[in-house]
Symmetry: C2
Subunit: 441 residues, 2 copies
């Protein structure tokens, strides 16, 4: 059972402010190659939080510029260590980290790198990443493979494109795969690295909240099967995770909210003070306050790293990170991969897990209300799609990885905020009641 | 560098002889279910060593019967331990081991088993294996998936059939995959087990000499890519390896000889006394003398276990087990998977490695002659197919897993019998000369 752990200071709800002078000052500090300056345009974005997407501008005019802003406050990355003996690795968190080639290069040992990315991220950050890998390091040969974007492509067919590219490029055992993108890219690239020549090095450069706070950390890699999510994969740890928070500047609002579902999860299962912080700072997070995000990412990674260090292969504790995921996977699989974002499905699934916990008498009604409120604040769904039926849930949940000898084990909240259990020892009636309350029979 | 280690007593070149009385006596000893007695027909085979294949007889008439004969001499298995810390496991070697359910069952922890086998082996040993898994253990549910037979099917498409079956059967993390077949089945089943739900237990029941002396031991799993052998896979150790030498009774002569290529390899790279034993006992091995085979399998597994224990992930020493394999893989890939058996290609590749070692001045001519002679005795090819060109070799060898930072490292003999090196430090001219001597330019 997971228990609450303490967290530290609150993050001020700071608005963006950047004087022209500090902007100029930074321009000389940022080590960015002249030859690829046009590429840097992705980080030159015009923020309009009322629109669903950012508008990307190719100009270098001094518009409001979070990436440069953030570079000023976080030139030295925060480092969270994932402690796994001889497979330990650092998570670097900060603004402008892709402008610091030495961070990546210290983890590249051979002469060959394969960047795995997708059609959305490649135009934004591929050249910048290639620069970070090769600047002052001309012996490294960088190849890249650009996959279609979306959970619906997280399958064997797409994975084979990575192997094809690696083999055609004659990459050898000393090469390094670099995952540049969100959770789908990280999971696929990691599994490809685990399997290529029976295992090569890999690095995670997550570019979504979802990947930065959760999926890039801990070594879970894999692909989906038509009958269920992540059923094929490996536990395989990266050499490092590099979280350049500037990459969030280009993230659509919907993707940003999706990632917050996992942030909220950490609070619920093991970190009450973090949940309370989120209740106070959700507005700042949605407004993309840089400091608020830096704190949310750091605290999430600390929670994840601690759990993974204690239970790498998910024999117990680690399963608690899947709060809401069993219901959520059923939604993703049933409505079709890519229709609902992972975090959206997890949010609806969290509400269902909380509902079931309440039906079992394991939590107070006040906690139910707080979870509902924070998910609504985060603009996340709080119920599955109307098309879902009880049988659709049951059919997918039967192949969940947490089934053991026919018994479905679930993560449920139990006790005060910040406490949960991973158990198959619950009244089946409560599960049936929850499924019926949230879906058609 | 590997050095020679000592081996023990020679095996007498014993002819098969079995009196009717001892045969009857055994019938009461063998624990085989009445309900599946018709299944036991595969082990009731009529040996004709002059023919390429055995003729399988469905009768239980007392024909010359190696399986029963062998059961008498090896009811207690020889155990070779693979020492890998908390992933250590035993290799059980002996006759009639599939008649001893307790051997397998002590390694099955959940309630679900998936047997992965092929269309050749299933009619011979599937029911027997199901019996061994379920006898006195009715709570275990056994599923099976029967794949097409042959190296040409060792690919992603066939692998997916294993995942499909596992998921349709709702197998959970506590299940066990059982590889029942030769090297192709073992490699695919092992990789499927490594990847299914990010890793489930698996057991190897090798049914060919190749698998019994080499591929089932040491945790190398994987599939082929059209451009190269075993390029996709995992290091993943089984719970145990069960070598029932009776299964060799149904093995075609060509397959049997193929496996001998790996037996010969152990002698050449690290075990001079074993090589000398083989020189004296090749006739007995080809005549399928049970005791000779029991010794050859045991000594091969001891060599393999020792190497794997010292270097599980092939950072150096373990690569020496690939003597002849770099040239051999080029042959297999170029002529098309399944055209040449693995051991046949390895035999030709071994001759090429030996030729190159001699050109480099690293071994005496007498050793070249001994290798040629023993491979000829074993009825193995001593040259690649005539269709091979120098470019075909070079093209495939360029994607070999032993290439590091562009340099092809090879296993070559150096010094007296039983010594080899794994090195990229050799005169390129010698490699070119060998390739030209054995293939068209």
């Amino acid at each position: 059972m997971a228990t609450a752990s303490s967290s530290s200071s609150l993050c001020p709800n700071r608005a963006f402010s950047l004087s022209t002078s500090s902007h100029k000052q930074l321009a000389s500090l940022v080590r960015f190659p002249a030859s690829t300056s046009s590429i840097s345009s992705p980080s030159r974005v015009c923020l309009d939080s009322k629109k669903r997407n950012f508008s990307v501008r190719a100009t270098v005019a001094p518009v409001m510029d979070q990436s440069i802003s953030a570079s000023s406050s976080a030139a030295i990355p925060t480092i969270v260590e994932v402690d796994l003996g001889n497979r330990s690795y650092p998570i670097y968190i900060g603004s402008g980290l892709l402008n610091q080639p030495e961070l990546l290069q210290r983890h590249i040992h051979g002469k060959q790198v394969l960047i795995v990315t997708n059609t959305t991220i490649a135009p934004l950050y591929l050249d910048k990443t290639i620069w970070a890998l090769t600047e002052g390091n001309p012996n490294v040969k960088v190849e890249s493979v650009i996959l279609p974007d979306g959970e619906q492509f997280k399958n064997m067919e797409t994975l084979m494109k990575v192997f094809d590219k690696a083999i055609e490029s004659r990459l050898d055992r000393r090469c390094t795969f670099v995952a540049l993108g969100g959770g789908v890219i990280g999971d696929m690239c990691g599994y490809a690295a685990a399997s290529y020549l029976r295992g090569v090095s890999f690095i995670q450069i997550p570019t979504t909240v979802m990947a930065q706070v959760d999926s890039s950390v801990g070594g879970k890699t894999g692909i989906n099967h038509p009958l269920g999510k992540n059923l094929i994969g490996a536990f395989y740890q990266p050499q490092c995770v590099l979280v350049d928070t500037d990459t969030l500047n280009t993230l659509p609002d919907r993707e940003l909210a999706s990632g917050l579902a996992e942030v909220i999860k950490y609070g619920l299962i093991r970190d009450a003070p973090f949940f309370e912080w989120q209740e106070k700072n959700m507005v700042a997070l949605l407004a993309r306050d840089a400091d608020a995000f830096a704190y949310a990412i750091k605290r999430s990674c600390e929670n994840k790293a601690e759990v993974v260090s204690l239970d790498e292969k998910e024999s117990g504790l680690r399963a608690t990170l899947n709060l809401g995921h069993t219901f959520g996977h059923a939604i993703e699989t049933s409505v079709g991969y890519g229709q609902w974002l992972h975090g959206e499905a997890v949010a609806a699934g969290t509400i269902m897990a909380v509902d079931m916990s309440y039906r079992l008498g394991w939590i107070d009604e006040s906690l139910v209300k707080r979870v509902l409120k924070i998910l609504q604040q985060a603009r996340l769904p709080t119920a599955p799609p109307e098309t879902m039926t009880v049988d659709m849930f049951k059919s997918v949940m039967a192949v969940d990885k947490k089934v053991a000898d026919g018994l479905l084990r679930l993560i449920l909240l139990k006790g005060p905020l910040g406490n949960c259990v991973f158990t198959g020892d619950y009244d089946r009636q409560a599960l049936d009641d929850t499924l019926r309350a949230f879906s058609k029979s």
